[in-house]
């Protein structure tokens, strides 16, 4: 519990007043001569039980009355997040909202999502606490702190609305740290509203150490985490695994593979779910039987107009507790070749990669690779290239800018170390020196199997990463998110922490002298094709992108399509890239969807959160969708009632017992009557 006027707590010793009065009364007794001592002694013997208890109760009630009144003056607040506040109002409040898709999980009865409830609670708490602090909302997607006038603005600001993108809580805390350092904000409270999903927090990211260290140097910064870690009771998640346009015999069809996952209390029952398809405005429905946790529909064919070269579609499930994973948008056009360019002058490096990249896994698309030596980089056709594999000295400034633009379009780059690492860097990352392991090589100690290049396959099978051995490696150093580590904790596969696109660093070669990546080809094959798949989404006239990513920003320049009346709402153009939907025109379409990692968002255990904030002043409040109680409601009325009840009880206890009609009293009364007569 905390108090708006905590100074009055110093008045709490006043509850001892009844005891003092009692003691003074005991000392101020008078002395009288008395004859009937036998009755007095008898009464004293008898009164050691209930009567004494009654006296103590009366005293306790009196103390309670005083305590209640003092608490009323101190204006207590109900416990909750701010239960940790021990006095002192902040000069600045920084609000960090996890606007990821998983925060759209809602309570079906009220339609209130985790994000909405969290915003309301924070706004209400800030209003109640008062003190007029500066309120700053950190926009995780523009990395800009936005100063707001009133806590209620949190509810309506575009930068506080839900998105289908992934959040990066670490990046937002980094922005917060910079803001505090730049503006010398004084005593600062940082409020974080999140569901503690691992993919939004990325606890394995090396950035956290710097964040923790940065905040440790500051004084007067407190963190409050509204933790909506509770998972929804029941949920269906839809994921399109394939949508191909097939032209044959003058007919055109869309072939769709989809998967439905369900979780919660429905997992035991067998049932049929209506799946709605909307292809360029034409609707159809398919009943999908689901038994167990997943159901898959493969090869569902929907005829389309052969003349339709570019189109869009939306597949949808009925509304449930997690609306963000109920729909999937897609755009289709004529397939384009999927080209991989390998920049190297070492055949042993490009051999395995080229083989993997030119192997078609989709019969409707053409796959091929091209090897370019470092001195002929200028020949690369950046527009048509999907994946760039760079095994050479890190690019010079001009080439680096070209590669940055390349990844901003949604393409993928993977760097491998040169034979002699130089001083060059890319996106703040540079190569260390080569080092060798023994003949048996080093196995993997850790790899991220939830998302990224080494994630499990769609059917849940793990890649044989544990079979990999690295004989020579060269670690990348810089602002990186580690995806795989060797046994000596050296990162072997990392992703650059740049917001502009997908850049990987692989610290070895797929050659027999450096690793068995080429010999145990499954993992390398999967990695290459996953990179191609990521990049392919941004190729051609129909792009399939992930909301919130840099390539998705192309949608900000395009109009949103209102797919159905009252359906997908098109937000401000600057936020198009954050919302799932179809954007574009007849020539170019961009379909934005949530990051599928949000569907399987694993909640970080409390210990992991503790590790991130170790050494910092932080407090976690576990929230639930069903808990509408405000964080900081004033509860002085409760103490008024308490004091009133105590007062009433004291009065009842003090009431003299019903007088017994004694003979002597009756006689006295009779005499008085006679005298009066």
């Amino acid at each position: 519990m905390t108090f708006l006027n905590p100074i009055w707590l110093f008045a709490l010793p006043l509850v001892l007043i009844p005891i003092l009065i009692h003691l003074l009364n005991q000392r101020r007794h008078r002395t009288i001569d008395w004859g009937a001592m036998q009755f007095l002694l008898s009464a004293k013997r008898m009164s050691r039980g209930m009567a004494r208890l009654k006296q103590w109760l009366i005293m306790a009630m009196r103390m309670l009355v005083i305590a209640g009144l003092i608490f009323v003056i101190t204006r207590p607040l109900s416990s909750g997040l701010i239960g940790s506040l021990t006095g002192g109002k902040p000069e600045t409040v920084v609000v960090i909202l996890d606007r990821s898709a998983s925060m759209q999980q809602q309570r079906l009865q009220t339609g209130q999502s985790k994000l909405t409830l969290g915003k309301q609670k924070i706004a209400q708490a800030l209003t109640t606490l008062g003190g007029s602090p500066s309120i700053v909302l950190v926009d995780g997607f523009s990395s800009k702190p936005i100063e707001i006038q009133s806590p209620d603005d949190l509810l309506d600001l575009p930068s506080a609305q839900p998105t289908e993108a992934e959040s990066d809580i670490g990046a937002m805390l980094d922005t917060t740290l910079n803001y505090i350092n730049d503006n010398q904000t004084g005593r600062t409270d940082v409020w974080i509203c999140s569901d503690s999903a691992s993919n939004d927090w990325r606890p394995e990211n090396t950035r956290w150490k710097a964040i923790n260290s940065g905040f440790s140097k500051l004084e007067g910064v407190r963190f409050h985490l509204l933790n909506f870690a509770q998972e929804v009771e029941s949920n269906y998640a839809l994921n399109l695994t394939r949508y191909d346009r097939i032209d044959s015999d003058g007919k055109s069809e869309l072939v769709i593979d989809l998967a439905i996952e369900r979780s919660g209390r429905y997992t035991l029952a067998s049932e049929s779910i209506p799946v709605t398809f909307n292809i360029n405005g034409i609707r159809s429905t398919l009943e999908v039987d689901i038994e167990g946790e997943t159901a898959s529909i493969n090869g569902h064919r929907i005829p389309i107009d052969p003349e339709l070269k570019v189109g869009w579609g939306k597949v949808e499930l009925p509304l449930d507790a997690s609306p963000s994973d109920n729909a999937w948008h897609f755009a289709f056009a004529q397939p384009v070749p999927r080209k991989t360019v390998v920049v190297t002058d070492l055949p042993k490096v490009h051999r395995a990669i080229s083989l993997a990249a030119s192997t078609a896994i989709d019969v409707n698309s053409e796959y091929f690779s091209k090897v370019v030596t470092p001195d002929r980089v200028g020949e690369i056709d950046w527009q048509e290239t999907a994946v760039l594999v760079w095994q050479a000295q890190l690019p010079d400034e001009l080439t680096a800018r070209q590669i940055e633009r390349f990844v901003e379009l949604g393409r993928v780059v993977i760097f491998m170390p040169p034979d002699n690492p130089g001083d060059g860097s890319f996106a703040g990352v540079q190569w260390n020196q080569w080092s060798s392991f023994d003949a048996e090589g080093a196995a993997m100690n850790y790899w991220n199997n939830r998302s990224g290049l080494l994630a499990r396959t769609r059917n849940g099978s793990a890649l044989p990463v544990d079979a990999l051995r690295v004989y020579r490696h060269c670690a990348a150093e810089g602002d990186l998110q580690v995806l795989a580590k060797l046994k000596d904790e050296t990162p072997i596969l990392s992703r650059a922490n740049n917001d502009s696109g997908t850049v990987y660093f692989l610290g070895t070669w797929p050659s027999a002298t450096h690793s068995n990546l080429g010999r145990e080809g499954v993992t390398l094959f999967a990695m290459v094709h996953r990179m191609i798949a990521i990049a392919a989404e941004s190729l051609g006239a129909a792009k399939q992108l992930e909301a919130g990513t840099t390539p998705a920003k192309q949608a900000n320049q395009l109009p949103g399509l209102t797919i159905e009346e009252g359906g997908d709402e098109v937000l401000l153009a600057e936020n198009n890239s954050l919302r799932a939907g179809i954007y574009g025109d007849e020539k170019q379409l961009i379909a934005l969807n949530r990051n599928v990692a949000e569907d399987r968002a694993e909640t970080m255990p409390r210990t992991e959160i503790d590790n991130l904030f170790v050494g910092l002043d932080y407090h976690v409040v576990d929230e639930q969708l069903t808990n509408n109680a405000s964080l900081a409601s004033e509860i002085w009325k409760l103490f008024i009632v308490l004091a009133g009840v105590a007062l009433l009880t004291e009065a009842i206890l003090c009431m003299p017992p019903k007088p017994e009609a004694t003979e002597s009293v009756a006689a006295t009364a009779a005499l008085a009557r006679r005298r009066a007569a």
């Binding site: 009937a36 001592m37 007095l40 004694t662 003979e663």
Partner: protein, 295 residues
Amino acid sequence: MHSFIEPRVIARLKALPFHARLPMLGSVSGMHRSPHRGSSLEFAEYRKYVPGDDTRRLDWRAYGRSDRYYIKEFEADTNLRLCLIMDTSGSMNYGAGDQSKLNFAKQLCGTLAYLAAQQGDAIGLYCAGEKFDKQISPKRSSSHLKTILDELESVEAKGETGLVAALHEAAERIRQRALVIIVSDLFVEPRELSDCFQHLRFRNHDAVVFHVMEQKEIDFDFDRPIRFRDLEGGAPVLADPSIVAGDYRKAMQQYLTDLQAVMRDAAVDYQRVGLEKHYGDVLAKFLLERAPKRK
């Protein structure tokens, strides 16, 4: 004149006769019924003549009507022995304002002694304090009345009560049947008193008890913690009336109930009097209750 004798009260009570309930054995003629037949004007009964009876008392009219000899008998009136037993234990010093229980007892005893002396009864006084040492045997003379009043004037209340022993001793010492009037606050266990009164009753005494109490002793209506100093010399007691008052009243009520039962069983004329009453009223009521009912 003694301070506890008020001529106004004496004048008021003089008109009321002072009777014993039981027949008394007096030495001279008086106002009280005797167990023996006598020569008063009040007819008692007829009985058959037996040889040796005084022929002067034969009822010749009855002989004329029935041809049998009957003796006509009349009641005998005699005087009584009034034994006043006054409790002089320390607790009798308690009172309200200027009136203490001891003073009230003196007023009762002094006035009764005066009234009894006026109608020719013998008066004795026994003071039951810690010891039963002040004893004045009953005599009927005006100088004896002065002795008793002087003794009442000088007596003081102190020490623990020795009432139980005093009553047993009095029951033994007073040989002839007498009217025994006890004035006390009776702060003794009722069952102990029961034995005393049965003893008095066994000796054919007509026992009267004036139970003198102050109203505060019954109601215990104090409002602040008080140190109670024992008038009979015991250890003082500090008590908070708000805690003990209820239990005190319960104990007092139980005591009064038990006491009444004891008095009823021993056929004692029990009069509970409070200090708020005037002793004149108390005595007037007492004498009126004892006056013989006219047929």
